[in-house]
């Protein structure tokens, strides 16, 4: 069951969902309201991880994949002039917002999905092409898998609305892993 904007705000107020910084303003009377009827906008952070081409092949049977990915990508800080994502180019980014979905008893847990924005999709921009689900117990910023499928470059700017988060009620109580975020209402690093 997808939560309405009012229910998303209620979940934030009750600590069942933490979005930091808190999306504001809440009322659609304001033109920069990040809420639509059943979602809340997320914004692009200011750093991209741009994979570098080279004479190598990913061998997913091997080890040290995390290190290899880090060594074959370049961190780019997006300046005021923006970053031109070339047609066909793939890059990783992150959301400004940190999302926390506590595992709670009595059917109160939430899960979420990250989705693109139709306006950006019309330009050819995908912000994820797999793994859209944000599971109950998640705590962190969301990594964006961005690719420009359009026919011209797309300028990316820090803080631009880049995706939307759709919240869903979880039926039943998930069996929590001990390290998953449970029952707290303040994300680490914010107190």
């Amino acid at each position: 069951m997808i939560l309405s904007n009012i229910e998303i705000q209620r979940a934030i107020d009750e600590g069942r969902l933490i979005i930091f910084p808190d999306p504001q303003p809440r009322s659609s009377e304001f033109p920069d309201c990040p809420y639509n009827s059943t979602a809340v906008d997320l914004h692009l952070g200011n750093v991209l991880a741009v994979p570098q081409s080279g004479p190598y092949t990913f061998d997913l049977r091997g080890t040290g994949i995390a290190k290899f990915l880090s060594q074959t990508s370049k961190q780019v800080t997006i300046g005021e002039e923006g970053y031109a994502l070339k047609k066909g180019q793939f890059t990783l980014g992150g959301t400004v917002e940190r999302i926390t979905l506590p595992i709670l008893p009595d059917g109160k847990s939430l899960a979420a999905r990250i989705e693109g924005k139709s306006s950006l999709a019309r330009c050819g921009l995908l912000v994820h092409f797999t793994a859209p689900t944000v599971h109950a117990g998640f705590d962190g910023t969301l990594t964006l898998e961005m690719i420009n499928l359009g026919v011209v470059d797309i300028s990316l700017f820090p803080g631009m609305p880049i995706a939307q988060l759709i919240l869903e009620a979880v039926v039943g109580d998930p069996q929590a892993n001990p390290s998953q975020f449970q029952g707290q209402i303040t994300p680490p690093g914010t107190t």
Partner: protein, 91 residues
């Protein structure tokens, strides 16, 4: 006394900046899966000491300690792995 359910620090064999800010590319030695790698959130590591925070799940009898990693590793499909007990440092 069992330490199951408590946090511990796991020594990492490799520790480098990740693809994005706020993460580190780490490699750890496991008991049965060789060396595996993952991107660890920055708030779950002590970079200068090459330590990553994990959750102890079960202390095995000579078969290592079952721990839960803070993120999904690339090489195996579970976040729960057995690691040598002497690679763990209690909080």
């Amino acid at each position: 006394m069992s330490a199951a359910g408590t946090n511990a620090w796991l020594k990492c064999s490799t520790f480098e900046p990740g693809m994005l800010p706020g993460e580190y590319a780490v490699e750890i030695v496991t008991v049965s899966n060789g060396t595996i790698s993952l991107f660890a959130p920055a708030d779950k590591v002590r970079p200068e000491q090459h330590l990553m925070r994990v959750q102890r799940l079960h202390d095995g009898n000579g078969s290592g300690v079952l721990v839960r990693l803070p993120a999904q590793p690339f090489e195996i499909s579970s976040q729960n792995v057995r690691v040598p007990g002497n690679n763990l440092v209690n909080e």
